[in-house]
């Protein structure tokens, strides 16, 4: 279980708080999505979970333990993180990128090699053709699959995803996000994902937190969000994908 308790964050460069008195609980094995317009504080919230950003006040607990009790580097080795633009190391091969966290944890070379093979299979990349490639020789979708494999390498229970599928073309985006949802269920992960795409959020999430200017507008299941939006702001965010879905259905019926 992940808990945010009265967490605020004000960056040194601004006087306006980015996050204000945020309290939030994510259950084990839940697929939790943070959504909101640019600058609402969703990525800051995500980054505070593995201490890439430190809160100005409040407490964050994972499995009941305050995360400030642990060394940040050690904490991060047990939490998978997938970056917006994949963030692969350009001088390392696919296999080296995937094996980097196990290497930091001191696994043996044989253990790492076996784990890399398993993960390439899990994210559906052919080992023979991808194992020794450098990131610059990969497509956007392949890069994101490698980034997923790297985040999963040290068998974390918690995965943090920062707009992981945003830069992909629509077909690839569907493939990779479906694959990830499958992996989430198979491995029993707890996932916190940031996105600004409401359709993606509605299709993937168990629960959605809608954020506005550093506070929570509503936290609910996709169904509850659609049927009972808490206010006009949430309503407008829901309206767009719903209207497009209705128009699409109507077009297909008439066709």
């Amino acid at each position: 279980m992940i808990e945010f308790i009265d967490v605020s964050k004000t960056y040194a460069t601004t006087s306006v708080p980015t996050i204000l008195d945020l309290s939030l609980t994510v259950a084990d094995k839940e697929f939790f999505v943070l959504i909101g317009p640019s600058g609402c504080g969703k990525t800051t919230t995500l980054n505070m979970l593995n201490r890439l950003v430190e809160p100005s006040s409040g407490t964050i607990r994972i499995r009941g333990q305050d995360i400030t009790a642990e060394d940040p580097a050690l904490l991060r080795r047990h939490i998978g993180y997938v970056f917006q633009e994949a963030g692969l190391f350009p001088h390392m091969t696919v296999a080296e990128n995937i094996g980097v966290t196990p290497r930091l944890l001191g696994w043996s070379a044989a253990e790492i090699a076996a784990r890399v093979e398993d993960l390439l299979a899990l994210v559906r990349l052919d080992s023979d053709s991808f194992h020794n490639r450098l990131p610059r020789a990969l497509s956007g979708g392949q890069r994101q699959r490698v980034a997923l494999a790297r985040a999963l390498a040290a068998r974390p229970n918690i995965m943090l995803l920062d707009e992981p599928f945003g830069a992909l073309d629509p077909i690839t985006r569907d493939e990779v996000s479906d694959d990830y949802r499958r992996i989430h269920d198979e491995l029993g992960l707890t996932t916190v994902m940031v996105t600004h795409d409401m359709t993606e959020a509605l299709l993937l999430a168990d629960r959605i937190a809608v954020m506005r200017a550093g506070t929570l507008a509503q936290v609910a299941t996709p169904a509850a969000l659609v049927t009972h939006p808490a206010d006009e702001f949430v309503g407008r965010m829901i309206a767009s994908p719903m209207r497009r879905a209705e128009r699409l259905a109507a077009a297909l019926a008439n066709g």
Binding site: N50, L52, A73, L74, L75, R76, R77, H78, Y81, F83, Q84, E85, G87, L88, F89, P90, H91, V100, T101, L104, L105, L134, R150, A154
Partner: protein, 517 residues
């Protein structure tokens, strides 16, 4: 094959070996200092500006000046450490050269490393944190590997600079490929100069290309290229160091110093030859600055050289009185032994003094034999001098003693000075008494009845290590009092003359033969 070329080739193993040793030491040291500094500077903007500023300023100092500056610096340090701890640091030779070149090599490595580290995409360093790296792991596993090609490019630039600038370390007493250039310039042997330039350029080119291979190996992650480049570097450096290793393994290795003119080269070769025959292993170190040679002897960087009594009297003893020729030698001998444990073996038999000379026929026509005779007609005569004579105390002393006032006063490069007198452009010139061109152009040296000019007897000085060695004394005694002015002039002329030039080592053999008979 041309004999000049053969001679140059014979010197190559020693010169190249010392040049490589010096350059590689400076580059390795410079890189070892620059890399950590650059890492710190990349993280601290406030340190970055001043650090890059200082290294840029160092870069604007001309190479020769930077090398020369380390000499007084180390000399002062040496005096301090001798007082404080009882031992001195060498102010000449390898140490000042390697320190100056190290400073010189730092800017490109520092600037490239800082730039490369700052240009790494922040998303990459964020990812390094995200996967659980500490700052140190991020630096060594991600940032430095990504910066490596640019860092190696900086090392390449530094290498080319250092290998080139190392040729300037000859005047501070460090043998290098620059010895070809400095000696060649002095004796107007262009084959030697060209040989030195080409050798230094080739060395720079080879090292640069091997480092380029390292850079490309890093860029495409090719182990083969890295191994090839590493092997190449090891072979080039290893092979060129062999002569140094062999040399250091031999028996007593005597070093004969020489200042930067022909007579000194000939005498150093003559002394080295004689010692070799006596079973020593002697090498020469030429092109030392005048003062540098003396301090090198006192500091045991060299073991012997020939200096001139008047020079030692004024520059080392700081005396300006004129006690007379023999008294000066006696006092020098006592002072050198007491202050520096240097033995003055004796005067070789000739002077290389500042003198004044005229074309012989013109002197006869004007009835001029001495400087005193000159006074009457000086008002209608022109005088030519080298670049320093008119600002030296010798000139003031002569003017004062004889009341000389010339119509016109001109300055010439030494090579042209003697010809100017021969051609009648000037009537009187300042000259060096042992210069062979005095005889060539039939010039007459004017006598100095009032002894206004100090004596410049050539004297053989032997440093502390061999001052009391009987074998050294035995093999060099035949030189004392046996080299007449006429003989030395002839020898110098063989090196100097425009046509049919002989190398200093050939002339040394010739001169030795004249002594035996």
């Amino acid at each position: 094959m041309d004999s000049n070329f053969q001679e140059a080739l014979a010197l190559l193993p020693d010169y190249l070996s010392q040049h490589v040793l010096l350059s590689v030491a400076a580059i390795v040291l410079g890189t070892a200092i620059s890399l950590p500094l650059a890492v710190v500077a990349a993280q601290r903007p406030r340190l970055r500006g001043p650090l890059l500023g200082v290294t840029s300023v160092v870069q604007t100092i001309p190479g020769l000046a930077l090398l020369a500056l380390f000499y007084p610096l180390l000399l002062a340090l040496s005096v301090f450490t001798r007082h404080a701890f009882g031992w001195g640091v060498p102010a000449l030779g390898f140490l000042p050269a390697v320190l100056a070149l190290t400073l010189y090599s730092m800017l490109p490595v520092l600037r490239n490393t800082v730039t490369a580290l700052l240009e790494i995409d922040p998303a990459i360093t964020m990812a390094a944190k995200g996967v659980g790296m500490t700052e140190r792991q991020s630096l060594f596993l991600v940032e430095l590997p990504l910066a490596a090609p640019v860092i190696v490019a900086g090392i390449r630039t530094a290498t080319v600079w250092v290998v080139g600038t190392a040729t300037l370390s000859t005047p501070v007493g460090q043998t290098s490929l620059g010895n070809y250039i400095f000696t060649g310039l002095q004796i107007e042997n262009w084959v030697l100069v060209l040989f030195g330039c080409v050798a230094a350029a080739l060395l720079a080119l080879v090292l640069d290309q091997l480092l380029a291979l390292v850079a490309s190996g890093l860029a495409v992650r090719s182990r083969t290229r890295l191994a090839l480049a590493g092997g190449g570097l090891l072979i080039v450096i290893g092979a060129s160091l062999i002569p140094s290793v062999i040399a250091s393994g031999g028996q007593p290795n005597l070093v004969i110093g020489a200042k930067n003119f022909d007579e000194q080269y000939v005498l150093a070769d003559l002394i080295a030859d004689r010692l070799d025959h006596a079973g020593f292993r002697a090498t020469t170190r030429s092109d030392l600055g005048s003062n540098i040679a003396f301090h090198a002897l006192a500091g045991k960087s060299i073991d012997m050289y020939v200096d001139y009594s008047g020079t030692l009297w004024a520059n080392e003893m700081h005396r300006h009185d004129m006690p007379g020729r023999q008294a000066m030698l006696d006092q020098l001998r006592v002072w050198l032994a007491r202050e520096h444990h240097i033995a003055l073996y004796g005067a070789l038999g000739f002077e290389n003094a500042y003198v004044f000379a005229m074309r012989a026929d013109r002197a006869k026509a004007l009835h001029i034999e001495s400087l005193a005779d000159l006074a009457a007609s000086a008002g209608s005569l022109n005088i030519g001098g080298d670049f320093e004579i008119f600002s030296r105390p010798e000139w003031r002393a002569v003017v004062k003693a004889y009341g000389l006032a010339f119509a016109v006063q001109r300055q010439y490069q030494p090579d042209f000075l003697y010809r100017a007198a021969a051609d009648g452009d000037v009537d009187v010139i300042s000259a060096f008494s042992s210069d062979g061109r005095i005889a060539l152009y039939n010039l007459k040296i004017l006598s100095d009845p009032k002894s206004a000019l100090p004596p410049y007897d050539a004297v053989l000085l032997v440093g502390p290590r061999y001052a009391d060695d009987p074998a050294v004394r035995r093999s060099l005694t035949p030189l004392i009092g046996n080299i007449s002015l006429e003989l030395m002039q002839k020898a110098n002329f063989m090196v100097d003359r425009p046509a049919d030039k002989r190398s200093p080592s050939d002339v040394a053999v010739w001169l030795d033969r004249q002594l035996v008979h």
